[in-house]
């Protein structure tokens, strides 16, 4: 690896702190940047003053420059608005995926190019492999922390210009590195929340403040009303809890129809599907795996991969599976190698 200038996206967390430190140790000309993505009152995300300060202090400790890029306008348009629109239309979005797509591997990468950086680096847990200019993306060395799923959209162009140094480490190793280097973020807890929604506000209140909730009916598979709800944003396909309907059998959300504010519920058997249609398909290699090639299909961030195959824009499961919530990523793997994926269509 040549030791060219690298722009490291530093969130103020331990993973990106160690990513920066490892690149410095490898002899790179490292510059840190923290993205200011959100102007709201969030206390949990990567944009709080404390996190920016942590990133700045780690950069100072590593003796590398640090900047803050204000991408708040783009973030609102590319991540937050689509997030609320998706919920309002009955989907279950993954805002981290859209942030990766449009912010980190979109606008940041563009700016890094313009500023003459050879690559950007992030603290994602995924392994990048370069075989003679052909790039592959593997699950992170720490399978429990693997984040390749939220990087499904990376292609050759992005991977050529991306470094993922902590993907080679387990989380324990990351923390050990941070402790060895005396980084102030060494024992910082992980952020698990959507960065632009504060813990005190919560998802439902955030959504209600942006999209008026419309009450509607809960119906069974025959269309008979079995209850009421306060708004479709509280429901996700496959959800079992919080339906507010007492029946003998376990009930699941089968479908969310935002147009009529109708939530259909039914048994687990009713939820099973043989396939899922996907949108916004993207492949690491630039081309789809051949139709019929056995792949592993993962449709939740930490879900278990199951066998299937891709046929055009339809992913077929080897065995019927609970319906994938529209808006979720459907990632395809060959073993630990990410092939690509798409977003589950309604």
């Amino acid at each position: 690896m040549s030791a060219g200038p690298v722009l490291v996206a530093m969130s103020g967390g331990v993973d990106s702190s160690v990513a920066a430190a490892l690149l410095v140790e490898a002899g790179h000309d490292v510059t840190g940047v923290t993205l200011k993505l959100w102007g709201g009152e969030s206390d949990s995300g990567c944009c709080s003053l404390g996190d920016v300060e942590d990133a700045r202090r780690v950069a100072a400790q590593l003796d590398v420059p640090h900047y803050v890029f204000n991408f708040a306008d783009d973030f609102e348009a590319s991540v937050v608005s689509p997030y609320t629109d998706d919920y309002a239309s009955g989907r279950t979005p993954n805002p981290c995926v859209e942030c990766n797509r449009s912010m980190k591997f979109g606008r940041l990468l563009e700016r890094a190019d313009a500023l003459g950086f050879e690559a950007i680096a992030t603290g994602h847990h995924a392994r990048r492999r370069d075989t003679g200019g052909n790039y592959r993306l593997l699950r992170g060395a720490d399978l429990a922390k693997d984040q390749s799923y939220v990087l499904y959209m990376l292609g050759q162009r992005e991977l050529a210009r991306t470094r993922l140094p902590v993907g080679e480490l387990t989380k324990a190793e990351v923390r050990a590195h941070a402790a060895r280097l005396g980084l102030r973020t060494a024992s910082k807890p992980e952020s698990m929340d959507v960065c632009f929604i504060s813990r005190s506000e919560g998802r439902e209140r955030f959504l209600a403040s942006r999209v008026p909730a419309r009450p509607g009916a809960l119906v069974d598979t025959s269309g008979r009303a079995v209850g009421r709800h306060d708004g479709v944003a509280a429901f996700t396909v496959g959800q079992r809890r919080g339906l507010g309907v007492a029946t003998g059998e376990r009930r699941y959300v089968l479908d969310v129809d935002a147009a009529t504010a109708t939530v259909t519920i039914g048994s687990r058997r009713d939820l099973l599907r043989e396939d899922v249609r996907v949108e916004r398909l993207s492949f690491v290699a630039g081309v789809a795996p051949p139709t019929g090639q056995a792949v592993l299909v993962q449709s939740r961030a930490h879900g278990t991969p199951v066998p299937g195959m891709l046929d055009g824009s339809v992913v077929r499961f080897a065995e019927p599976r609970p319906r994938v919530a529209p808006g979720q990523v459907v990632a395809l793997y060959d073993g630990d190698t990410l092939l690509g994926g798409g977003i589950a269509a309604p």
């Binding site: 510059t31 900047y67 700016r111 313009a114 500023l115």
Partner: protein, 392 residues
Amino acid sequence: MATGVRAYLDYAATTPMRREAVAAMQPYLSDVFANPSGGHGAARAAKTALEEAREEIAELLGARPDEVVLTAGGTEADNLAVKGGAGAAREAGRPAGVVTTRFEHKGVLAACERLERQGFGVKRVSVDGRGIVDLDALRAALDGDTGLVSVMLVNNEVGTIQPLEEVAALVREHAPRAVLHTDAVQAVPWLDVATAAAPADLVAVSAHKFGGPKGVGALVVRDGVGVTPLIEGGGQEWGLRSGTSNVAGALAMAAALRATAAERAEVGASVAALRDRLVAGLAAAVPDCFFNGDPARKIAGNCHVGFPGVEAEALLVALDREGVCAAAGSSCSSGATEPSHVLDAMGVARADALASIRLSLGAASSAADVETALAVIPDAVERLRPVGAARR
């Protein structure tokens, strides 16, 4: 200068301390250290020094010593003027409405927002495209309910000098009971504030903008002008700013002010020549660049320039990587660049505002700084232009 800095072009943000100021404060950090409010000999020495510094500051600002309230900086002075001025009017049962402009420093604007939440009426008048307060809009905003008017003397981003005489005349005519505050923080290196701010009842200055230390400032409160304090306690500064006096800081501010005033004409002329060379060089090298703020009515040290299609935030990084220190918009505490409320108030299109940077010169600026800037900026602009970007 810090490692790697080749050209410092951010004097409007802060200046290096002058040698005179460092020397003036040194004895009062350890040798003459007593609390000037005490009753013993050591205290008297400190008190004498403090009051001599105050006299000097007063003279150079065109005030009497008992009209100078020492504060911990310009933002505090602005807050004291705005909140204290409106607060005193309300306490006295007088009209307490506030009229200000849309392009004041945040030290005034945020104080106004606070007042608004406390039930004070606040009007913000517009600014023209050249960065001068709209006097017709100001006239229309002034009325019998106005208790405080706040118009800055020099804008901190585009460097334009405001027509304070005319502002004061309008206030006298349309809101005769109102108090006029001016934020003169950016003015001191370039204008004789004793004259330029004479029409104002309240005048805020900040030492670090003219070679003094950070965390020291003053508010001139003319005799008879009511101000309620923000900070209360031992009653220092005529009860308007309690807290143990910053003797060393006051001495340093006085020394910096004295040296600045003595050199003002000379520095103003030489910096204006440097700035004009910078402007001409940029205009020649980047033909489609544009300049913000009326060139005929701005301080010598300001060059506010935009490069169509170039993100200022990226340009500042490119410049920093080559050792050129500049600024854009106003920095929030996170260090992120926020879109400039000043350019917005002037009606500058958002895209142009986001493409604009401030290059500010000061007493220590040199021809080499300007040549470095001219060697670095046009190339950086060229590299950052999106491929195929339309030129004007």
